[in-house]
Chain length 233, copies 2
Amino acid sequence: MPCIVTGMLVWERPEPPERPVPAPLSRERIVRAAIRLADADGLDAVSLRKVATALDARPMRLYSYIDGKEELLDLMVDAVHAEIRPSGEGWREVLTSLAESTRHAVHKHEWAADLLGGRPQLGPHALASGETVMAALGDVELDAVMPVVSAVNAYAIGAVRREVAERRAERATGMDQERWQAALGPYLQRTFATGRFPALATVVHDAAHLDAEETFRMGLDFLLDGIAARIAR
Amino acid sequence: MPCIVTGMLVWERPEPPERPVPAPLSRERIVRAAIRLADADGLDAVSLRKVATALDARPMRLYSYIDGKEELLDLMVDAVHAEIRPSGEGWREVLTSLAESTRHAVHKHEWAADLLGGRPQLGPHALASGETVMAALGDVELDAVMPVVSAVNAYAIGAVRREVAERRAERATGMDQERWQAALGPYLQRTFATGRFPALATVVHDAAHLDAEETFRMGLDFLLDGIAARIAR
DNA sequence: GCATCGATCGATACACTGTATCGAGTCATA
DNA sequence: TATGACTCGATACAGTGTATCGATCGATGC
């Protein structure tokens, strides 16, 4: 019999557009999709609608897997922690590795700079990397372990955050790193010309400019040297 | 003659509700209003609409003073930098003061933890506090100044960020600090019970728990000790 | 003194967000 | 087979940042 709506017989009617069978979902799939979006276009590009669309689903479907956007962000952060895998022998090597692998992970996922440290990290991967570090600090006096690890973490997160901030600013102005630092932006030029920040101007103009990695490493060494002094005692 | 609409004479008609003459606006007024909102209800409570309403204005009016929400946030951060006023004699005192006044400012404006370090700080107040610090490091070798100050800033920002994160978590769970730390949350209890994180569990259970201020100070001392070693050379 | 033009300002409207609500549809049971 | 409970996710809502462009107002020319 002809279709009620079109009056056409089955054979004349085109098949419906091939709707892929509702993709099976999982927390992991959702988080992966969100991370893809964030890696490509930044955290602002992560909306429940876009994530759902990427998975060929409707937004509310996600709520069976997560309890809201905040939880999705938590899961994303823990996924980054999975890439932070400190290793090495002895406290100094492990702490160095902790800081540098944090740095690498955040370089790979710049958006993580806006989330790391923003709320307590209690996900399985975060705990796992914590466990690795703690285990490697077995020969350090127990009461000193937490403050030491906290300090290294605080430094790493703060330092990486500034690195990312600068990187974004450079990208926004379209300048590469050297031109940016050399020109300091016309704004800084003018500001320093006012003479209100002489010491700052001197440092910026006359001091050697280390690259991001050297700066990071240097600060980390300061911190570890200070820790070494206490631990040795 | 009677009013066309109501048919009432002037004397019968009530005066229009006393609309205060459109409040004069300024960047400062706008930023102050935004900060009041953020202090009271967090960064999420800062919307151009709410800020405008607080100033008895309509949202688009703000666009004559700022170029978008991002700029408003930048101004808010610089306002916080106005409260970071390092002081003291000699490099160590000044750097200590820098870190601790950063900490105090962020405690007063918790939302600042989410913004500080998130983009280059080039506002007048940020530069001013930078100038103070640089000036006080006059006797430090020029090439070492930037790395040293960067490291202290990175540490302070990262450390304060975690402090705020914990404070928020405690507030969210309604627990006071001691109960939170003692109970560790039922979740951590259960997680540690699995035995997958023995070293972590040991540290959390058996190590002494310093309060936030002690922890902050201790990490800062590690860093400054390490710096002292390099500078002295 | 009046009409016209130009620029300025901010109300309206749009596209998008996270998520509460609740009706449709499904399954197990009587 | 009828009925009920339950689950799922489409719809709808309240809110966001901001582009657009019509109303308004001052200055200018006659």
